[in-house]
Symmetry: C2
């Protein structure tokens, strides 16, 4: 890591008073949560909107989701009290492998426990308790963020009024687990990995970079890369796509921790909203909140067939199609379209609240874009 | 490499009398070609069928394409003189990085020159000259094999009567180049890579295995892995998909050379039938042979849109759809269906030869399966 990981000066930090009991039974004490807020919590303390970020994201959601922020936008800075916290296990200020273990005085490193999506959500819920938020109007996020959104819906049915999940599944597929594992193995192949006990000066840069290159391909699509790079070569005689991937690999090495990458990909692989509590279909059927499921037609990681099934299984779900050539990452690229879908969804929620009639939501409808 | 790479006792070896002048201008002397033949060359010496194998394939095509072999099959062992040779740059008996460089007395290793698909085809053509084959009735192959097939069509219009390419493109896409590069970087990240100067006892096993895991995912599809493994765990508590990928990774380490993997993936990235000779559309339009293009509907590497364009650009092409959940590798899995398509194609060739009318071939038609 040659650069400091950027955390904006507006970032706030909360040390949770209670220990966090992980799903594994392990206990984390002194958990710190890095978070940002926008807008004001109303006197009723019921206008919170929770943003859940993706794998290598962080709390400064206005940086990576700017077009969704503003008056009248998906994230209404005038009406909402918007909160985004860095997830447990990450390396942007919330407790994770780079944090000091209060029991040993040393960074956790590879000894940071295996965590799950539910553990991430519990930490977010604990933060909201510290902020004395009574109700959450909406939980919203894509990819790993979307997995958290679904767990929010299942775990906190009384607290959460609506959820919006983009390019995510109710349980991680075999295909996604396989791609995660190949990426982890590339990191482990790096001699600087040292079983996770690497130094800040000598991280497993080559392995993490190779993992990121692999991941970047999976975040895009054949058509997207063909359109952007084709078989063009740069001034150095290399394929432009190769230079692009090296650039992306190096960027991630500069801003992300390999142990966090391992921790978070394992958490994604563990993702299954029904784990230990029932069969998959029934658990999704138990989600009562109005739900927006946004599927990306060119997503190779969470393909249309999986998104359609997800929307079918959640009783009050709307399925919106983000038609884009850009693949999985479209929720971070085609943001104007995404914003429009969320605005539309939120307007329908307001209309229903005013009319006390949710019957027209009890079926799937399409927000073709 | 803990196991000897299997080469059947029926394999024959031919040392080319002429030096091979590579597209790069470099010259290889004493090139050896490992090959298998089935059936007999007829007195007219015009019943040859050339099989081109995929990335990690080898000359024993009857082992990996058994359902296509036999009387009345796609590869008719009674009528055809079938030839399959290991490609230049591979490690199954044809000259490649593991071969001894006659100029130095040492294995080429990473100093083996960069080669192209055209170089592979030139070596195959030289073998056919040594065998005094006058005409080739059909060149057939999938993936890297399909790239060779297309180059055969462009490079030897007088010698080749028909071509059949499966799950391949006329030029390697940005997407495929990106996935190749990520795999190479995983190999380079391994400390045993040593710039390619590794020993037989200590190959870059972890890196090559990680590369293979990544590749295996790309050879299948979301649906294929979901159907086969889902979220099942093995007796060891690991995901079945993870165990499967580790098994596949180790298998490749046991049977393949990392420098060959690098050499052949670079060759695939170089693939463009129009390179240096014209624009892409015109070069494909110059292919006059009857052509069977088989597209796999679930192929993420060479997706339907690319296959359709390929078939549209080749004047005498038929487009056949291999509808399969298995992704790119379907040409090695759904072999009965593939066989039926090739048999059908060859019957149409025979019918046309008998009737001296190829007009009905001058359009694209679909062999839906």
């Amino acid at each position: 890591m040659n650069e400091t990981r950027y955390i904006s000066p507006e970032t706030q930090f909360c040390e949770l008073k209670q220990p966090v009991i992980l799903e594994s039974g392990q206990v984390l004490i002194g958990v710190q949560v890095a978070y940002r807020t926008w807008g004001k919590l109303n006197p009723e303390r019921n206008n919170a909107v929770v943003i859940c970020h993706a794998l290598t994201g962080w709390a400064d959601a206005d940086q990576w989701w700017d077009p969704l922020f503003g008056p009248g936008k998906a994230l209404d800075t005038e009406k909402d009290f918007i909160i985004c916290s860095n997830v447990l296990g990450s390396c942007y200020g919330t407790t994770g492998p780079t944090s000091v273990n209060p029991e040993t005085g040393c960074p956790y490193g590879p000894d940071f426990p295996r965590i799950t999506i539910r553990d991430m959500v519990r930490v977010q819920a604990a933060l909201l308790d510290e902020l004395e938020v009574a109700k959450v109007k909406l939980v919203i996020g894509g990819s790993l963020g979307g997995m958290q959104v679904l767990e929010w819906g299942v775990m906190y049915p009384e607290k959460v009024e609506a959820i919006a999940t983009f390019a995510a599944s109710g349980r991680h597929s075999s295909w996604c687990i396989g791609l995660s594992e190949a990426q982890r193995q590339a990191i482990y192949a790096d001699p600087y990995w040292r079983g996770g006990y690497y130094t800040i000066e000598q991280p497993p840069a080559a392995g993490l970079s190779a993992a990121r290159m692999m991941a970047m391909c999976s975040y895009r699509s054949w058509a997207s890369l063909e359109q952007k790079f084709g078989r063009n070569k740069g001034a150095d005689g290399n394929w432009e796509i190769v230079n692009y991937l090296h650039h992306q690999g190096q960027k991630l090495v500069n801003r992300f921790d390999a142990n966090s990458y391992i921790t978070l990909t394992y958490a994604m692989d563990s993702h299954d909203v029904s784990r230990g509590i029932g069969d998959y279909d029934s658990v999704l059927a138990s989600i009562q909140q109005p739900t927006l499921v946004v599927a990306i037609d060119s997503d190779v990681l969470y393909p249309p067939v999986e998104q359609e099934k997800l929307a079918q299984l959640i009783p009050n779900a709307q399925l919106g199609w983000l038609n884009s050539p850009h693949g999985h990452d479209a929720f971070l690229i085609d943001m104007e379209d995404l914003n429009a879908m969320v605005v539309n969804f939120r307007q329908s929620l307001d209309w229903n609240a005013a009319n006390r009639d949710r019957s027209h939501l009890s079926r799937i409808w399409r927000v073709d874009n």
